[in-house]
Amino acid sequence: MAHAATHDEHHDEHHEHLNFFQRWVMSTNHKDIGTLYLVFSLLMFFIGGSFAMVIRAELFKPGLQLVQPYFFNEMTTMHALVMIFGAVMPAFVGLGNWMIPLMVGAPDMALPRMNNLSFWILPFAFALLLSTLFLPGGGPAGGWTMYPPLSLQSASTAYVVFAVHLMGISSIMGAINIIATILNMRAPGMDLLKMPVFVWSWLITAFLLIAVMPVLAGAVTMLLTDKYFNTHFFDAAGGGDPVLFQHVFWFFGHPEVYIMILPAFGIISEIIPTFARKPIFGYKAMVFAIASIAFLSFIVWAHHMFAVGLPLGAEIFFMYATMLIAVPTGVKVFNWVATMWGGSMTFETPMLFAVAFVILFTIGGFSGLMLALVPADFQYHDTYFVVAHFHYVLVTGAIFAIIAATYYWIPKWTGHMYSEFWGKMHFWNSVVWVNVLFFPQHFLGLAGMPRRIPDYNVAFANFNMISSIGGFLFGASQLIFVGVLIHCVWFSKKKATDRVWEGAKGLEWTVPSPAPHHTFSIAPVVHDEELAHGHVED
């Protein structure tokens, strides 16, 4: 491994001769592995998206029209699993792989061969997971939360558990690699408090992953032994308790939702300063806010379980702890706004998505705050209000940030500019239709429409139809994205400069566009005034 990291020049001469198999399957290069992750994530985004289209088509009108109820339940379950573990998480790992070494001046990730393994586990994990849809007896249909006893009734438990184990191993190895890279591979002068916010956000996220992915692995292992090896962890008849599963699951699950948003916070904190042409407002406060959110995310898990019957003291503790998260989250939102304040802003596509993120993510934050109120949650729990909440934070939050990051860095990756016109078309279509899709779901939830059902009361017909129309058009809008990507990679004639964006700062913009296969073989000299967040006093 020392060899791979220190003898770059030698490799550079030779990589031209690598055949397709050697370059992509045997890859140990952080940029190529980053690309693999991103392509995989895009594929999963469309597979998960097609499941969502099935859901919205069935819900277009009340009554059962298109699919069997069991298949509908398979779709909601698979949609969530594929989007969470297949689309959002691998996209962030891909972005981290590409950008972290470039941002801290390292020649590669610390453990390049493990990096290869972390990626290549994923296609097998998802082949296994998706194959259950074709099995006799069908795939998992008890929801992504896998609550027993329901989740144990499907024939595919063992497949799902094994697939989750594989994804977990992949994420843990990815997190180990990121921690080792950030803590050990930084160029001299790149002190911890000089790192870009994106790198900080990934460092903290990686620790969250290390703390909770093994817990998920433990939880699903116990599901497996309950079903096949005569244990009774969650089986009331045998002295166990199904509610215990919920505690273990959400001890993983809530930090998991922050795993899907902290790197997004990092991305937005890179993009806004660039297009406002100002250093980020309150760099240290931003880093500290991310760390506080990460810490708090461990003591709020039971806000997903208010309705199962917790001791009163616990309900109150988890309510207040959850509401506390709004404080560091508010710090971030205010600092993004303050960064824009008085800046000379331009609105290229990455900035459009970043500004939309700030506004729409905040809507999701507010609905989260409503859900944190115990008595209110008794009403909202398991309704479409929850669905609206988490889609605002995950689609207009996490996914918008991933799209923004792609537009922001793709000129560096490919050496070409994307089409700004079509980028903006993608943006405006996405931002309009995503709201048509998810905003009415707040009303449906408040009116009492339960989540995860294929049929509903006719009273809910209008908002469901509007939501479905928004869904189809939001889905179609993402085809524009694919068009922009294909054009940028293979057909764009417009060369990107090294700096790409006038206001861009940081080490990643000092290397040529496209970034050569090997960069920073010799550690760069870090100039403080060249860093994105400007000079930070100690």
Binding site: A110, N184, M185, M213, G218, L312
Partner: protein
């Protein structure tokens, strides 16, 4: 005479060596978390009175 290999190491090689040590430490933490998450459920199963008490408290309201 004993050669001090660490001072002969290039800076980059030194970073990679330290990174592998960090990685091993973090990997061990992950393993421990996995084991603990299952062990505590075992513990609860073998202490039914603790579990019954918790359930009773939860349902008291």
């Amino acid at each position: 005479m004993q050669l001090d290999h660490q001072t002969l190491e290039s800076e980059q090689a030194q970073r990679v060596r330290r990174a592998r040590r960090t990685a091993a430490a973090v990997g061990i933490v992950a393993l421990v978390v996995f084991v603990v998450s299952i062990v505590q459920m075992f513990w609860l199963q073998h202490h039914p009175q603790a579990h019954a008490q918790a359930v009773k408290e939860a349902l008291m309201q």
